[in-house]
Amino acid sequence: MRKHAYALAALLVAFSAFATAAIERLDLGQMVQRADGAVHGRIVAKKVIRIDHPKDGPELYYTTLTVEGVNLASGQPQTVDVTFPGGFISPTEGVYNSEAPSADDQKIGNDVVAFWKREKNMGGDLAGNALMTSHGGLYRTIASKKGRVVQGRGDGYAVPANIALDDLRARIQTLTEQKNQQR
């Protein structure tokens, strides 16, 4: 009987990992497992494109942010484009996307941590580096007396609470090593 209870509890725990809503619930370990990389740096460019696709439909808007900085796992300099659905080409042409980072989070000049994953098709046959879980893959940082701090987004996100950038970097490096050893 007790074994059954343990099995049921384990099943429930496993089940809870398949969280729904609009974006997947990924803790930092799961985020590192799923992502192809994490970069810390400054948003230096922003571009919005429109795709009209015969199968996926008209008016597919995508925003690409160029983040120039350092790969958090390797410590090597890195400039990476990260893309998510939504955005405005002009003040009158484009869409708000419910899962996209807020306009304030996307500003050029922001210092951010971004998790990304290479995708062959993000819709409309657009290939590129998807910003993991849209707004859930972009975290702003702020300078403090004790160094730079990454702002957490709350329960269910890879960075749920504020954390020192150095600490986050160390955790990502450890998790990346574990990921590489598993391969």
Binding site: F15, S16, A22, G57, S98, D125, T133, S134
Partner: protein
């Protein structure tokens, strides 16, 4: 005693410190704007590819005409409605029933769309590929509509009606979340809310909106007004519908239906409808009304002018139905096929039989009867069994169309009873087709209303 001297100041300081503490606020957010009465329609373009997204093929009387993804999204939107949809049944995971919003908001189901549509066409569909853990999204601004997309490769989508299996994602739960965005809600920080961006439990729980979600939709649309029209029952008798409820206007009501084959998304509206005592509306369902929902709008443009949605299946869920088989002729390899225009209401008296693909200018006539058959006849097939009644002989147009408007005030159309199916077919001459020199269209079964 000396300690007592410090107690009051300490209490004051403690109270001040408590008040100065930052409060942690957790609540819904809004994205700005709301869906006006012209944007209450929604449709589904069923391009979903996972077999489990469309394996619920069991019809549900509370959602007439819908199965699979369509049924799922209909339920998802109704949960935001002001009060229970019909008797509230239809979602086995939700004993409290569908329709929990309690706000001046109710959606109008408009069936299946034929395409993905633009960003303001209020259509839900699938999008190919995946985007790094994003399951679905809603595109706004909402002032002129919205569009919802589910990523094809993001999940193994399940249409229920029970909870999804292990490894599957719940279409209805995610749909309820995305439709909350369409209504104007942003993400909530409240654990367990449907509008939380990342949930803590698997899918089906999000089908049921939480107190925080309800507060959000009520903040946008207002708490359901005391003057908001309420439908409490709809009784169908043939094509006649009797709507009972409260707060209907004496005159000038609109009755909104789900439109058959809806290309625009706009509800089918019967205007200038009177009520009896503000509690009863009786009307004949228009021919173009399909199975879906019925709503009553009283005069005015406020969100509170529109009632809750009530499931109906006008004409018993069947519009005039084509049946049998057309045979090729000298003009059209698909043969002559029947259609119709106008109302099936005898009182309206404008029902027109239409046939396309007839040899131009051919002599022809319609005939009808209560029985169906299927037997070779001439170069085609006879679809109407004996006894039959002939309508006047006429000629097809130079473009190969034959049309005849029934006049129910004179014989023989005056002999057609209400609520009893009649089968129609076109006979036409076609010497150029060889053989017997004549042919027939397919059949059309029509049940007329009083």
């Amino acid at each position: 005693m000396q300690h007592a001297r410090f107690l009051v100041p300490l209490a004051v300081l403690g109270g001040a410190a408590f008040l100065a503490l930052p409060t942690r606020t957790e609540a819904y957010t809004t994205i700005g704007g709301n869906l006006g009465l012209a944007q209450r329609d929604f449709r589904v373009f069923n391009n979903f590819t996972d077999p489990t997204a469309n394996d619920n093929t069991t019809p549900d009387a509370n959602f007439p005409g819908a199965t699979g993804v369509a049924l799922t999204m209909w339920k998802a939107n109704l949960e935001w409605g002001s009060r229970l949809h019909g008797n509230g049944n239809g979602d086995p995971t939700q004993p409290a029933g569908l329709g929990s919003g309690g706000a001046n908001f109710d959606p109008s189901w408009q069936g299946l769309a034929t395409g993905i549509g633009g960003v303001n066409d209020n259509i839900i569909s699938e999008l190919s590929g995946s985007s790094g853990g994003t399951l679905a999204y809603c595109e706004t601004p909402i002032q002129d509509g919205w569009r919802i997309r589910f990523y094809q490769d993001a999940a193994n989508w399940s249409d229920g009606p029970g909870s999804p299996g292990v490894g599957q994602y719940d279409l209805q739960g995610v749909g309820t979340h995305e439709l909350g965005h369409a209504l104007g809600l942003g993400h909530s920080t409240v654990a367990g809310a449907t509008m939380q961006a990342v949930a803590t439990v698997n899918g089906a729980n999000e089908r049921t909106i939480s107190a925080d979600d309800i507060a959000g939709v009520q903040a946008i649309y207002g708490v359901a007004a005391a003057t908001k029209p309420i439908i409490s029952n709809v009784v169908q008798s043939g094509c006649s519908l009797t709507i009972t409820g409260s707060n209907f206007a004496p005159t000038g009501n609109e009755v909104w239906f789900t439109r058959l084959n809806n290309a625009s998304g706009d509800p089918l509206k019967v205007t200038n409808v009177a009520s009896a005592g503000g509690t009863t509306i009786t009307l004949t369902a228009p021919t173009a009304a399909g199975p879906g929902d019925l709503l009553v709008k009283i005069p005015g443009s406020a969100n509170s002018a529109l009632s809750n949605a009530w499931p109906v299946s006008p004409q018993g869920g069947t519009a005039p139905q084509s049946y049998c088989q057309a045979a090729p002729n000298s003009y059209d390899i698909f043969g002559a096929t029947m259609a119709y225009s106008g109302s099936t209401s005898i009182a309206t008296n404008n029902f027109t039989l239409v046939t396309n693909g007839v040899p131009p200018n051919a002599a022809c006539l319609y005939f009808f009867g209560p029985n169906q058959t299927f037997a070779p006849f001439g170069n085609g097939y006879r679809c109407v069994g004996n006894p039959t009644t002939r309508l006047p002989i006429m000629n097809a147009s130079p473009f190969g169309d034959a049309a005849y408007t029934l006049n129910f005030t004179t014989s023989p159309a005056s002999t057609i009873p209400a609520n009893s199916p009649r089968n129609f077919q076109l006979w036409y001459r076609n010497p150029a087709g060889g053989g017997a020199g004549f042919n027939l269209s397919d059949g059309l079964q029509v049940t007329f209303c009083p």
